[in-house]
Assembly symmetry: C2
Homo-oligomer: 217 residues x 2
DNA sequence: CGAATAAACAGGGAAAATCCCCTTTCCTTA
DNA sequence: TAAGGAAAGGGGATTTTCCCTGTTTATTCG
């Protein structure tokens, strides 16, 4: 049995209503207790620097204004690596997940949270130091293990934006406008990706993106 | 309570091993009993014409050589409309399902059958005269109710083949070769579909096909 | 620090593929 | 026989794709 310790949790979330119900939920779990809220990353910084009572775990929403989840995660791992960050997000595309994990996040939860899952996540975080949901594990497997042909892909920010836009009915020109780049640059992305991914045309790109969960329908 | 009648079932299936276990399963259900097997559609015809003891229900595999599920279903509804046909198939794409339903099939089961589901299907078939699984209902909802813009789509055989091939990296020319049609005819399909579906390019077509389950990854 | 190297970005030009608006032919069927 | 659909096609505009070159911006390293 686990000892009767109290684990503390901080919540950083823009959607205060959601955060409030999250707090209630967490406080209903044995051994866990929310000690503070923060509206965004900046707010969190202040809270942490002002208090000397640091939470063991922080729930971090990715989609926030002012200072988003990525920045916040970076700051946290840099300044308080002992705090375990559990990322919450609507997005389940591979790249977002990986981006957060690369920034030192210890767990990743999709936001349609079931109480038991959240409880499991918190427990595993404080016991094992990490939590990986089914989806995240799959993603890791997907992205960090080579594909059928032994390739590992790691897309840059711009490439990813391009891929996502290319999976729509937009014309390359229109994509160029949206990304504020020259059509020629876009063409460069396209060409490079076609070569790297060994695909023949845009349809190939769409299929690739779907298989890799870079986009969803 | 249902009366103690005995419902008879015929199985038409190419995979004899599967059919055998299916028979065992069915015979284990109360009130249901398998009275014959058939390897394919032709075989079934003979069996039916030779015997005067017709089954109440026939389990029909779609993927068969010689005389496939579609033809067989057609023949059955034409010559023995009183027999309830339950289609079994690996494919769960909308069009295949619809195609079978249009041929008078009374139920449709995906082949990863759970005993309880099969039992339910048989019971509903003999009691209500039809059975619709979750997936089939969804499909019907999907295809037979208008979409967001009030459109109903019903694709012809060739169109569907074209759509599926267009969702690959094949070139239109290559598609034309595969379908043994002139590239211009293919172009006609493309044009017509783009107009009907209000899409701008091939990517749009791929997305459409995916949303409608016409193809799967 | 400055030079070397790499990478992102942009362009020209041309071939191929796609997209679009039309007509004609043939066949089925009402 | 008229109507309608499927197949085939002409011709041209546009887009996509491809290859090669140059410029600017980071980054690394001697």
């Amino acid at each position: 049995m686990r000892p009767e310790t109290n684990h503390t949790v901080g919540i950083v979330d823009d959607h205060s209503l959601f955060a409030r119900s999250l707090e209630k939920l967490i406080n209903s779990f044995p051994h866990f207790q929310v000690i503070f809220h923060a509206k965004n990353g900046l707010h969190l910084q202040k809270k942490i620097e002002d208090s000397d009572l640091l939470p063991e775990i922080i729930l971090l929403d990715i989609n926030m204004p002012v200072m988003d989840g990525f920045e916040t995660a970076e700051w946290l791992t840099l300044h308080h690596p002992e705090i375990k960050v559990l990322a919450l997000s609507m997005q389940d595309d591979e790249h977002t997940i990986l981006k957060m994990l690369r920034r030192g996040v210890k767990g990743y939860l999709l936001k349609d949270i079931h109480p038991e899952i959240l409880n499991t996540a918190l427990k595993e975080l404080s016991e094992k130091g990490y939590y990986h949901s089914q989806k995240v594990s799959e993603t890791l497997l997907h992205s960090l293990t080579p594909d059928e042909e032994g390739r590992i892909f790691d897309f840059k920010e711009n490439e990813l934006t391009f891929i996502k836009l290319a999976c729509s009915e937009l014309t390359y020109k229109e994509i160029a406008v949206m990304m504020e780049l020259s059509p020629k640059t876009i063409d460069g992305y396209r060409q490079d990706l076609f070569k790297r991914l060994k695909i023949k045309n845009r349809v190939g790109l769409v299929i690739f993106a779907l298989k890799r969960n870079l986009i969803q329908l």
